[in-house]
């Protein structure tokens, strides 16, 4: 039911007619942290992501940018099996995602949960360990300790026993980040971790991302602020229902790609950002 028949696809592509099996010619490297093979995702038969085919390099920070409705969150959720794929395969370090869950950390959007839930910051971070603890096993002190260390890394260990609605937006975002750190993964998906956070939190998140990178981990981060893309990310995925461009930031972060991705949707503010970025690149 969920597979959109090829005939109905508004914008057929060579690969559109052959679901599931990778149809493109290029070889996927066997041990890439994340390989997405010809993934298409549809909501109610309306495709929202088309033919995404990517190999993410190891040890890089990768920004995912694109206008609203470009499918940025959808890309992450489909990779994590949170929403069904119409077609395509996702492999993590060379094996299907389902067998590699323990290697993958996830930072959902902050609005996705109820912050009135009766748990402390430490409780939430400890949830990051649940995959390691296993079904029906109790949370041991070692796991609490690991959660505490993660809270300390994001700089809010002193707020461990606060109920989560008593935290500021930036602190809540740090709790989510700490939870992902507690997962102790090798590949991280982060859905807008920088959305509506204070400057101090933004700095803290950037520092954590750099630490992850230096320890050889890989992070895919949905990002909105075009200003900071060249500063924060080594690679960029330009997304607008399909992958417009993908590569090292200094190669693909160009006016042309920004235009192709955002088209008429690029607001004045974004255009200013773009101008700034172009100017900076020209100067260096």
């Amino acid at each position: 039911m969920k597979n959109a028949p090829a005939a109905e696809q508004p914008n057929p592509t060579p690969a559109g007619a052959t679901p599931v099996q990778p149809a493109t010619g290029h070889e996927h490297p066997p041990d890439s942290p994340l390989s997405i093979h010809d993934m298409t995702v549809a909501y109610q038969r309306k495709p929202v992501l088309w033919d995404v085919d990517l190999d993410i390099p190891e040890g890089k920070l990768i920004g995912i940018v694109g206008p609203n409705g470009a499918g940025k969150s959808t890309l992450i959720k489909a990779c994590l099996d949170l929403i069904p794929k119409a077609s395509g395969l996702v492999s993590v370090y060379g094996k299907p995602y389902r067998r590699q869950r323990k290697l993958v950390g996830y930072v959902p959007q902050r609005e996705s949960v109820d912050w009135d839930f009766p748990v402390s910051a430490l409780d939430v971070v400890t949830m990051g360990r649940y995959g390691k603890i296993g079904w029906c096993m109790p949370v041991t002190r070692a796991h609490k300790q690991a959660a505490m260390t993660a809270l300390d890394r994001v700089g809010i260990a002193d707020l461990a026993s606060r109920q989560i609605s008593q935290l500021s937006g930036g602190q809540q975002q740090r709790v989510f980040l700490a939870r992902a750190l507690a997962q102790d993964a090798r590949l991280y998906f982060m859905d807008e971790p920088f959305a509506a956070v204070d400057a101090a939190t933004e700095k803290a998140i950037v520092a954590i991302l750099q630490q992850l990178k230096t320890s050889g981990k890989t992070a895919l981060v949905v990002h909105h602020d075009l200003h900071t893309v060249p500063e924060y990310f080594d690679w960029v995925i330009f997304l607008n229902m399909r992958v417009v461009a993908f590569g090292p930031t200094r190669e693909v972060f160009t006016q042309e790609n920004l235009h192709k991705t955002y088209g008429g949707k690029l607001t004045l503010l974004d255009q200013a950002a773009q101008a700034l970025v172009i100017a900076e690149r020209g100067g260096s």
């Binding site: 959720k77 994590l80 869950r101 996830y106 949960v113 009766p118 409780d123 949830m127 029906c136 109790p138």
Partner: protein, 443 residues
């Protein structure tokens, strides 16, 4: 009132067992914003029961519970289908599914009413008063038939919650992360719904399907207002549930004779929910963090603090005048300047006197050294804000006083310092008044 040990004690035991089972599961329904799903399931199990009866011809617990589990699962499944394919929201989907199933169940029961003792009235309102009469032999002693069954259901619920505590917690809080970690949030959802269905069936002969919903939701909702940890919430909800049952029965046999002559007692299940409702209402008023009374108290305490600070600020400004007027009748001034009642203004002044920040003179009040210190900090914050708003946000100088008046009360010393840096260390505010400097305020 007349307390018969064989009857009333058993009624309370049965009521407590029902309400503990319900309240335990209710926590997760409330936290998943699925209170209505409890409603849906407890109604929709009816056709399951009817069909189970029609097939087996008996009212044995096993048949009834099996029917309930199947009906509960179907309700969950149908709701998801209707929601997915019908493109309607969850509430509407539940409304369609559970009313339809309930109606089918009602039709089946009425059809078969001649041959069975499954009475629609009893299904709706319960018959806890009659439960002690239907007894059975259990380990050599006669106990009401309902007690072992309800105890077993409570035990199963408690065991499942204890065993899957962390899975239920994460699936309720963040189903997406649960799924990403390999904890199937959807499976936990079905498990919870099965337990709700079983509990509803076991309980509704006692307290009726409508009141089952109340016992599922009300204790947990009240506990949510009072606690900020899941464990504590569950504990409080259990206490509320048990208290509702025990006090409910007590009220049922004591209250009506007080109100009406010639009336013996009223329905226990009804009174249980009334008590639960009263407990909830009291919680809403009294809860420390979310309660209406505590909110009003905090608002009042905040306005008193603002008024005290305003009094200090007013006196400071008087002292600044070229020819200070000397002692000031500050209560009148406050009433006039801040449009507040004389009572609150007087209280503010009394507090300031007690804190040693004001001094009473023959015809009014003056600041003490401590009072002047605090006032200088406030005036500093006020004037720095004015400078900031004019310099940085380019508001006209005659429009910033009111904003600064509000902001001065919530400005910490470090924030004032940051404003000081940001506005380029001004000596005076946009209106030319001196900004008190912390380095000189001891002079």
């Amino acid at each position: 009132m007349q307390w018969t040990h064989e009857i009333d004690t058993w009624i309370v035991v049965i009521g407590v067992l029902c309400s503990l089972s319900c309240a335990l599961l209710g926590n997760f329904l409330v936290l998943q914003r699925m209170s209505m799903m409890g409603d849906a399931i407890s109604h929709a199990v009816l056709p399951g029961l009817a069909v189970a009866f029609l097939i087996t011809g008996s009212r044995s617990s096993v048949a009834m519970l099996t029917g309930a589990v199947i009906a509960g699962l179907l309700t969950t499944l149908f709701t998801q289908w209707v929601q997915g394919f019908g493109k309607v929201d969850r509430g509407a989907a539940m409304g369609v599914v559970f009313t339809s199933l309930f109606a089918i169940g009602l039709v089946l029961i009425v059809q078969a009413a001649d041959s069975i003792d499954l009475d629609p009235n009893c299904v709706l309102y319960g018959a806890i008063e009659l439960a002690p009469l239907d007894d059975t032999l259990f380990f050599g002693s006669r106990v009401p038939r309902a007690v072992p069954l309800l105890a077993l259901v409570l035990l199963v619920n408690a065991a499942v919650v204890a065993l899957f505590y962390k899975e239920l917690k994460i699936s309720s809080f963040d189903p997406a992360l649960a799924t990403a970690l390999g904890i199937n949030a959807n499976a936990m959802h079905y498990l919870l719904m099965v337990l709700v269905a079983v509990t509803a069936v076991a309980s509704f002969e006692m307290i009726g399907s409508i009141l089952v919903i109340a016992m599922l939701i009300v204790p947990a909702a009240a506990a949510h207002l009072l606690t900020d940890r899941l464990g504590a919430m569950i504990a409080v909800s259990l206490v509320f549930g048990a208290a509702s049952a025990a006090l409910g029965h007590l009220a049922a046999i004591t209250v009506p004779p007080l109100l009406f002559t010639g009336v013996q007692d009223t329905t226990t299940s009804g009174m249980m929910v009334v008590v639960a409702g009263v407990l909830f209402g009291t919680t809403v008023l009294l809860a420390p963090r979310h309660g209406a009374i505590s909110k009003a108290w905090h608002r009042w305490a905040f306005s008193l603090r603002m008024l005290k600070e305003d009094a200090l600020g007013l006196l400071y400004r008087f002292e600044e005048l070229p020819s200070p007027p000397g002692p000031v009748s500050i209560v009148t001034m406050l009433c006039h300047a801040k449009r507040t009642g004389p009572l609150l203004a007087r209280l503010a002044v009394i507090r300031l006197l007690a804190e040693g920040k004001l001094q009473r003179q023959r015809n009014g009040y003056t600041l003490t050294a401590a009072g002047r210190d605090q006032a200088a900090g406030l005036i500093r914050a006020h004037r720095l804000w004015e400078s900031y708003l004019v310099d940085r946000i380019a508001l006209p100088a005659d429009h910033v006083h009111r904003t600064a008046e509000g902001l001065e009360h919530i400005t910490t010393e470090s924030l004032a310092q940051a404003l000081y840096e940001r506005t380029g260390h001004p000596a005076t505010d946009p209106h030319g008044k001196a900004i008190p400097n912390p380095d000189h305020k001891q002079n």
